[in-house]
Symmetry: C2
């Protein structure tokens, strides 16, 4: 039996920093909303996405789309037209995220009320 400090001192070899890696790819404030919009409606132009995602700025939408494209989750197709047209779609790899987001979504549906209640109790106990 190893000591705890030996057993877990290199967590990225125990298979749990992988969660962190994954969250860097799929997490953040906007990515799930972009992926969701593109999953429901497979082809969307830049401004259609912008309308679908409340409160996102142009800069953030561009930036997040670029990251998703770089990671192979989203496809970007630019048409050489005037005015320019760019269509975004989910890739095959991007589709593999659907069940992941579903599980997260499901957890929230089932347990958010408990979290809220716990927060209230906690804050009350501190005042």
């Amino acid at each position: 039996m190893k000591k705890p400090s030996e057993r877990l001192s290199k967590n990225n070899e125990t298979g749990d920093c992988q969660v962190r890696d994954a969250l860097l790819i799929i997490g953040g404030k906007w990515k799930n909303m972009i992926m969701h919009a593109l999953t429901i409606q497979p082809y969307l132009r830049f401004n259609q996405l912008k309308v679908n995602i409340p409160d996102i700025s142009q800069k953030m939408l561009t930036q997040q789309l670029r990251e998703l494209e770089r990671d192979g989750l989203v496809n970007r197709k630019a048409y050489a037209e005037i005015p320019p047209r760019v269509e975004y779609s989910v890739t095959k790899l991007g589709l593999t995220l659907t069940p992941v987001y579903q599980v997260i979504n499901q957890w929230q549906l089932l347990h958010m009320s408990e979290v809220i209640k716990s927060r209230e109790d906690f804050d009350d106990s501190k005042s």
Copy 2:
């Protein structure tokens, strides 16, 4: 048939901002590692946690534990001793996160190599 702008303009009513809510609770750089450590080893003292989680600062560990406690995911038990002893454990609600983290972990295991490859291709194509 509603227009896209009507159908999705209020995403937090369509059930997808819930993912964002959940990620605020379970995401971040440290929370999954804290939860993982406490799930593997059900009772850990502050400094044991600190040893188990590489590179976390005392400040971050305190702060994240406080948030997890407030959200009802982690239990904090302080013993009135000298020197002080504080034991942390996962609550019942916290345990419901295990499958969520597992799905995220599994996605990383299955698809991270594709993401890496996509990044290399993308970066190459830009140089």
